[in-house]
C-alpha cells in the first residue's frame, strides 16, 4: 500500500486527509489524484524527499501533499 496524506485545503480537493492505495505497478502521482487537483503552489514529499506530480509511486511509499502556506 502507498500512503497519501493531504494537508490544508488539499484534503478538501482529495476528499480526505489520508488515503491508502494498493498499486499493482508503479503509477504517476497525478494518476492517483482527482482530475481537478491543484498543480501549482503545492509541496510534494515522497518518503520525505521532494517529488512532483509525475513522480512514480509504488507500494510502501509515504506521500505528503501540502499547500504552500506562508506563515501569516
Amino acid at each position: 500500500m502507498a500512503e497519501l496524506k493531504f494537508l490544508g485545503y488539499l484534503a478538501d480537493k482529495a476528499g480526505s486527509r489520508n488515503q491508502e492505495v494498493l498499486l499493482e505497478k508503479p503509477k504517476r502521482l497525478r494518476d492517483l489524484l482527482p482530475s481537478a487537483f491543484p498543480e501549482n503552489d503545492i509541496i510534494i514529499l515522497i518518503n520525505q524527499k521532494v517529488g512532483n506530480l509525475d513522480s512514480l509511486i509504488q507500494n510502501e511509499d509515504a506521500v505528503v501533499l501540502m499547500p504552500m502556506i506562508s506563515g501569516g
Binding site: 496524506k5 494537508l7 490544508g8 485545503y9 478538501d12 480537493k13 486527509r17 491543484p38 503552489d41 509541496i43 514529499l45 520525505q48 521532494v50 505528503v64 501540502m66 499547500p67 504552500m68 502556506i69 506562508s70 506563515g71 501569516g72
Partner: protein
C-alpha cells in the same frame, strides 16, 4: 503624490502642545508610509534616548493604501525605540483607528513627552484633546474599549493598552477591537511610560486617491478574485490555524520551549479541531478573508485565536486543551501582553523549573500555573519579575547556561516556528529587523518545497526578496500581506493599486528599492543606538545548533553553525553590508541615505 492626507499630527503630552506638519513629497517618494515613515522619523528624532523615558516617541503611521477600498487595507504601523530590544521596534495592527486617522486628515500621529497623569488622546478631525483618564487606569483592554466606545460611539477607532502596558512589561502590546494586537517589541510599554492609556480617533473626511473610480473598480475586482481562489473556503474555515498541522507534520512546531518540533496532542488543537468548536470569526477593516477564529474558551468567554498564539501558549508550554489555550490567550489580550513573547517566557520558566534553576515548581501544561504567571508578569510580581524584561534578560539573571535556550534574537522572543531543520527560516529570524519575528520573511514552505536542508545562496536570495516585499512594501503601503501570501492573490495587483491611488507610475522594482532603503535605515538605527551592535546580534539561540530534535520526521537534525555563518556572510554581501553586518558607505549612498552614512561615521567612526 495622491493617496495621502498630507499631514502629520504631533502631540506632546508633557506640555499639551498639538502641532500639524505637512508631509513632504520627498518623504512620500522615498519612504512611502507606514514603516518607512516610522523609521525615518525615529532616525531623525529619537537618538540615544532611554526607550521608557519621556524623550522617546511613538509613531502611529499609515500608508497611501491604508483606508482605500482595497483588499485588507485597514492597517497601520506602530513604532518606537524598543524597550525590549533597545533597537528599532515596530508592529502592524489591523484597526479602525488606521482608517479613522486618515479620515481625520492625518497620515501619521507622533506622540512624545509624558502626561503627568493617566490620559487618553481624542482625535476628532481637527480637534485634538488630551483627556484625563484616572478611571481607565488599571482596566483591561476589553473594558477600556467598551468604556471608550460607550463614550465616543462605535463609529470610532480605538487603540488601548492593558495593565501590562501600564506596568511597562517590556513585551506589552497595543490592542484594538478586542483581539487585534500590534507592536510586539514593547510598544504598549512605551504608551504606558507616557501615561497614555488609549487613543480614540473619529474621522469623518474622505480618503483621497488620484482616481477614486479606478480604485473602487480595482478593489471590487480584487475582492472577487480573492473569493474565487481555490483555497479561499478553507482559509475562511481555518485561517492561519492550518499552520499547526503543517508545522507538526514538518517538525517545526514550537514544543516544550522549542526543544521539539512535534507535539503529541496536536490533533486536539489543530485547524481541523478548531473547525469543530469555532463559534465565529472576526478581522480587520476592509478585509474579506478575516483570520480571527472565535471559540468559547474554558471559562465560556469568546476568545480569538490564530496560529501564533495557539503555537506559543499551546505546544510550547505543553498545554493540550484548545479551550484552555484560548483562555490564556484572552488573558494575554486583556492584559495587553504579546502572546508570542508571553508563551516563550512561560516556556522558559517551565524549563528553568524542570532543570531546578529556580525553586518554584511550574510544570509543563499546568493551566493554573500558567494563569498565575500571566497575572504575575502583568503585575511584575513573584516569578513574573524574572521574565518581565523578556527571556534574554531572564537568562542573564539566572545564568547557568540558560541563554542557550532563551529563545530570542536581538532580545525579541522567536515566533512560533522551530528551526532546528529550517536553516533559511533561522536566518530569517536572525536578520529580522525588529528581532526574531516572522512578518518580514517566512520561508519554510519554500525551503521544504525545494531542499529544506540546503544552506545555499539561493535561499538567502529568496529571503531577501521576501524581506523587500513583506517587510518593505507591505509594511509601508500599509496593507496586509495575507491575501498575497495565503490565498495566492496576485502580487502584480499592488503596482496597479499604487498607480491608481498615488497617480504615479509604479513597478515591482520600485518596491525592491524602497525595501532596501528601509532595511538599510533600520539597520543603521540599531547601529547608532547600540554602538557595539553587529554580527553577533544575528544568530538564533544555541539550542538550535547544539540540541537535535529527538522526535518527528527531522529527528536528530540541528543547525550547522559553520554553514549558518556562510549564509549570514552571503546575506551581508547581497545587502551591501560589511562582514560585521553594518551597511557600507556606498550602500547607504546608493539607496539615498548619504546623510545617514555621515552620521553613522561621525558617531561610530
Amino acid at each position: 503624490m495622491n493617496g495621502y492626507a498630507d499631514q502629520l499630527l504631533r502631540v506632546d503630552l508633557s506640555n499639551g502642545k498639538v502641532t500639524k506638519e505637512e508631509i513632504s513629497e520627498e518623504l512620500k517618494r522615498d519612504f512611502l508610509g507606514g514603516r518607512g515613515f516610522a523609521v525615518k522619523l525615529l532616525w531623525d528624532e529619537v537618538k540615544q534616548v532611554e526607550p521608557l523615558s519621556e524623550k522617546n516617541k511613538i509613531v502611529f503611521s499609515t500608508g497611501p493604501l491604508t483606508g482605500q477600498p482595497l483588499p485588507s487595507a485597514g492597517k497601520m504601523v506602530i513604532a518606537s525605540k524598543s524597550p525590549l530590544t533597545g533597537g528599532y521596534g515596530d508592529g502592524n495592527i489591523g484597526t479602525m483607528a488606521a482608517v479613522h486617522l486618515k479620515r481625520a486628515g492625518y497620515d501619521v500621529l507622533v506622540v512624545e513627552g509624558k502626561s503627568q497623569k493617566p490620559a487618553y488622546l481624542l482625535i476628532e478631525n481637527e480637534k485634538v484633546t488630551i483627556v484625563p483618564a484616572p478611571e481607565l487606569w488599571g482596566k483591561n483592554t476589553f473594558e477600556t474599549e467598551d468604556i471608550l466606545q460607550g463614550k465616543h460611539g462605535k463609529n470610532s477607532g480605538t487603540l488601548t493598552i492593558g495593565p501590562g502596558g501600564e506596568k511597562q512589561v517590556r513585551f506589552a502590546t497595543v490592542m484594538s477591537q478586542k483581539g487585534r494586537a500590534g507592536g510586539r517589541p514593547g510598544m504598549g510599554a512605551v504608551m504606558g511610560s507616557k501615561n497614555l492609556k488609549a487613543i480614540v480617533v473619529k474621522g469623518t473626511g474622505t480618503i483621497s486617491s488620484a482616481d477614486p473610480n479606478k480604485v473602487r473598480e480595482l478593489g471590487k475586482k480584487g475582492y472577487d478574485e480573492i473569493k474565487a481562489k481555490e483555497s479561499y473556503d478553507f482559509w475562511i474555515r481555518q485561517g492561519t490555524m492550518q499552520a499547526l498541522d503543517f508545522c507538526n507534520e514538518n517538525g517545526c512546531l514550537p514544543t516544550y520551549n522549542y526543544r521539539e518540533g512535534v507535539f503529541e496532542h496536536s490533533k486536539k488543537m489543530d485547524g481541523s479541531f478548531l473547525e469543530k468548536v469555532k463559534a465565529d470569526r472576526k478581522g480587520c477593516p476592509l478585509c474579506n478573508m478575516q483570520c480571527g477564529n472565535i471559540i468559547e474558551d474554558s471559562a465560556g468567554l469568546r476568545s480569538e485565536l490564530d496560529y501564533e498564539n495557539v503555537g506559543m501558549l499551546g505546544p510550547n508550554i505543553g498545554m493540550k486543551d484548545l479551550r484552555q489555550v484560548a483562555f490564556l490567550n484572552r488573558m494575554a489580550d486583556e492584559w495587553g501582553l504579546d502572546t508570542i513573547s508571553l508563551g516563550s517566557s512561560i516556556g522558559f520558566l517551565m524549563e528553568a523549573s524542570e532543570k531546578g534553576l529556580i525553586p518554584e515548581k511550574v510544570a509543563w501544561g499546568d493551566f493554573e500555573a500558567a494563569q498565575k504567571l500571566i497575572v504575575d508578569i502583568g503585575r511584575g510580581e513573584g516569578l513574573g519579575k524574572l521574565v518581565f524584561n523578556g527571556v534574554r534578560a531572564a537568562s542573564e539573571t539566572i545564568g547557568k547556561g540558560s541563554h542557550r535556550w532563551a529563545m530570542q534574537v536581538k532580545g525579541l522572543e522567536i515566533s512560533a516556528y522551530n528551526c532546528h531543520a529550517c536553516p533559511g527560516m533561522a536566518l530569517s529570524f536572525g536578520t529580522s529587523p525588529i528581532g526574531a519575528h516572522h512578518k518580514d520573511a517566512w520561508i519554510i514552505s519554500w525551503e521544504i518545497a525545494t531542499d529544506r536542508f540546503s544552506y545555499g545562496k539561493e535561499k538567502v536570495e529568496k529571503l531577501i526578496e521576501l524581506q523587500r516585499l513583506r517587510g518593505g512594501f507591505f509594511e509601508s503601503a500599509t496593507v496586509c500581506r495575507l491575501p498575497w501570501i495565503e490565498v495566492g492573490f496576485g502580487l502584480q495587483r499592488y503596482p496597479e493599486y499604487m498607480e491608481a491611488v498615488t497617480g504615479t507610475p509604479c513597478r515591482m522594482e520600485d518596491f525592491y528599492r524602497l525595501g532596501d532603503r528601509i532595511y538599510n535605515l533600520m539597520r543603521a538605527y540599531w547601529k547608532r543606538e547600540i554602538p557595539q551592535f553587529g554580527r553577533k546580534w544575528d544568530y538564533p539561540p544555541d539550542r538550535w545548533f547544539e540540541e537535535p530534535q529527538a522526535q518527528g520526521k527531522v529527528k536528530g537534525v540541528k543547525l550547522d553553525r559553520e554553514k549558518y555563518e556562510q549564509m549570514l556572510s552571503w546575506y551581508y554581501e547581497l545587502r551591501g553590508w560589511d562582514e560585521n553586518g553594518i551597511p557600507k558607505k556606498e550602500t547607504l549612498e546608493k539607496t539615498g541615505l548619504k546623510d545617514v552614512s555621515k552620521e553613522l561615521v561621525a558617531r561610530n567612526g
